[in-house]
């Protein structure tokens, strides 16, 4: 699969490219916003890994490029990396409801396995959100009392589910069986009054829509 990497920091760009090539991806790397946009528009890749902050303006060129490319090619898989995560940007990325979006802190690439997993999930149309985004989102929901009906375990499962993890990944992280996770999820959907869904991505989007109210 072809990946476009947009990252202005040479070391990180080089490291990412090497990691992805090692795992069988074909890599095109650029270091600025306009080149990224040209590449995404002319020849949409299987997935793009994009730094939010890029030259020339060193503001959110990467994010704006990604959003513009997705307006032209709806559902184009894009994984945004950033030194910071902002709810505002997460919302903008999720707004079209098409999925195939990832938004992670840059330090998540330290864990190569998890990072590769995130790239594959986004390429496959999934949604991957940084734990930091979800932690802050849940903190706000805690203060509003919108998730107060959940048990502590259910809240942990909700956090992982909102990050876009699959059932088996949640089960592994929580050291419980797959069927226990399924039960927790059913209970969460019941308590939050959400329509149950077997489609993983639709499930994530429903949970995020609830938390973003």
């Amino acid at each position: 699969m072809r990946v476009v990497i947009a990252e202005d920091l040479f070391l990180l760009r080089d490291g990412l490219a090497r990691l992805l090539r090692e795992h069988g991806f074909a890599v095109d790397a650029v270091d600025n916003g306009p080149e990224l946009l040209d590449l995404l528009l002319d020849d949409p890749p299987g997935v793009a890994v994009v730094d939010v902050r890029l030259p020339p303006s060193f503001t959110d060129d990467g994010l704006r490029g990604a959003l513009a490319a997705r307006r032209r090619h709806p559902g184009l898989p894009i994984l945004l990396l950033s030194q910071y995560v902002e709810q505002l940007y997460a919302r903008e990325l999720l707004a079209d409801g098409a999925g195939a979006i990832g938004y992670l802190l840059k330090d998540r690439v330290f864990d190569a396995e998890q990072f590769l997993d995130a790239v594959r999930r986004v390429a496959g149309g999934g949604t991957v959100l940084d734990p930091e985004v979800i932690t802050r989102l849940l903190r706000r929901n805690d203060a509003r009392g919108t998730v107060s009906a959940l048990t502590e375990r259910e809240r942990d499962v909700l956090q992982l589910m909102a990050e876009g993890r699959s059932n088996s990944a949640i089960a592994a992280a929580q050291h419980v069986s797959d069927s226990a996770v399924t039960k927790h999820i059913a209970s969460i959907f019941g308590k939050l009054d959400l329509a149950p869904s077997t489609d993983d991505n639709r499930r994530v989007l429903a949970v995020l829509a609830y938390l973003n109210q």
Binding site: R53, T59, D60, Q83, Y84, E86, Q87, L88, Y89, R91, L105, K106, D107, F110, D111, R136, R140, A143, R144
Partner: protein, 425 residues
């Protein structure tokens, strides 16, 4: 018919309007005389307590009249009368707040200038402003009434004078007519000029003289500069401490762990691997600490998107239901943007902590070089800038930009807080 409230300043429209305008100023002067007595009386009632409730509205009345005088001077004579600096704060709720407000007003030179004006203007100002109307009335009397009334007066044995003419014969009565016309014309002719004299008098009475004004400004600037220097020094100290105890310490620990891992890599690869994993975790924590630090110095979303989106981002992190209505045609100067961002951040945190509100509306607009931010919540009210350190902090932050903070927070709510900051462009 021309409107005396219109803004003609030259030519016949202005001359014809001048007597009426002068009469309006005389009326204003009468109101000033009344309000001067009221202000004095209510000030004397302050020790009895009731003055605390009567004095502020009478001061507001006085300022209202002064404001009207400023407006007339600007509109009719193009004389700009400056406002006293700094603007008087709103009357706070609660007795101690009221007492402080009264004390501050009574020692405020701006108030005394307005008071002095309300004593002098009814005498001098009313005299000057009344001249055009009096001349016109006297002229019209001489031209239209005098020719018919001199005979009965003379017959009754009275002595009837018009200006310097002793009117007791028909030729003398006819002689008085052109004089009367001249008096009328004089009244109209000199009207705009006399109004200008009046406007300058208003300016002289209401504005602090230049030196005093500058002295005040220097005092104020010295104060806000000292506060700005203090707060930026404190900020730098905080950053230094955070870096020293946080990221720097972690980097030292990471260096240690790495050198240990290097030493153990042959002999005890398991331990070495554990050390490397620990280093990775530490680097994540160091990054997290640096992120938090940077967010406190200059939030990236503010740098990326400017004030409106940065405030929207704040709203998304707030537990309250925050609606943001922000429209700015262009980016603000970076220092201002940052100060206002942190001010709004403080207000949001304050509201979430103290007000018990569920909903908050933030309006941000820029008009005529003035940035206005209005924050309204549906909480329990009772916010008092003289007590809450949060609001005082906001006031201090804005003072360096000549910005003001106005709080309207009656007990029971709602609370409306308005920030105004001049911003050159």
């Amino acid at each position: 018919m021309n409107d005396i409230l219109a803004s003609e300043r030259t030519g016949w429209p202005a001359r014809l309007a001048a007597p009426g305008r002068g009469l309006l100023l005389v009326g204003l002067a009468l109101a000033e005389a009344v309000v001067a007595c009221v202000v004095a009386a209510t000030a004397m009632l302050i020790p009895l307590g009731i003055g605390l409730y009567l004095f502020p509205p009478s001061v507001a009345w006085l300022s209202g009249l002064a404001e009207r005088a400023r407006r007339y001077a600007r509109r009719w004579s193009a004389v700009t009368v400056a406002y006293p600096e700094p603007a008087r704060p709103a009357v706070p709720a609660g007795l101690p707040g009221r007492l402080r407000w009264c004390g501050r007003t009574l020692t405020d030179r701006g108030f005394w200038y307005e008071y002095r004006w309300s004593l002098i203007d009814p005498i001098v100002g009313a005299f000057v402003a009344g001249i055009p109307f009096s001349l016109v009335v006297y002229g019209v009397f001489g031209a239209l009434v005098q020719p018919f009334v001199w005979q009965p007066i003379d017959r009754a044995g009275g002595s009837n004078w018009y200006t310097a003419v002793h009117v007791n014969t028909l030729p003398r009565a006819l002689l008085a007519v052109p004089i009367a016309v001249a008096v009328t014309v004089l009244g109209l002719w000199c009207g705009p000029w006399l109004l200008r004299v009046h406007a300058r008098l208003t300016r002289a009475l209401l504005t602090l003289d230049r030196t005093e004004e500058l002295t005040r400004r220097v005092e104020q600037l010295a104060g806000t500069r000292a506060a700005a220097v203090d707060s930026s020094a404190a900020e730098l100290r905080r950053i230094e401490r955070d870096l020293h105890d946080g990221a720097q310490a972690r980097l030292v620990a990471m260096g240690m762990s790495l050198s240990n891992a290097e030493r153990l890599i042959e002999r005890d690869p398991e331990t070495a691997r554990a050390l490397v994993a620990e280093v990775r975790q530490n680097s994540s924590k160091a990054l997290q600490e640096l992120r938090d630090l940077v967010r406190g110095i200059h939030p990236p979303v503010l740098a990326d998107r400017g004030l409106p989106d940065a405030v929207r981002a704040l709203a998304l992190d707030s537990p309250l239901d925050v609606q943001v209505d922000a429209r700015l045609a262009h980016r603000l100067p970076p220092p201002l943007e940052s100060a206002v961002y942190f001010a709004v951040n403080e207000l949001l945190a304050n509201t979430a902590k103290h007000s018990g509100a569920d909903r908050l509306d933030i309006g941000i607009a820029l008009d005529e070089g003035l940035l206005r931010i209005r924050v309204r919540d549906d909480g329990c009210g009772g916010a008092d800038p003289s007590r809450g350190s949060g609001l005082r902090g906001v006031q201090r932050r804005l003072a360096a930009f000549d910005g003001t903070l106005r709080v309207d927070s009656p007990a029971g709510g709602p609370t409306v807080i308005e920030l105004e900051v001049p911003c050159g462009s």
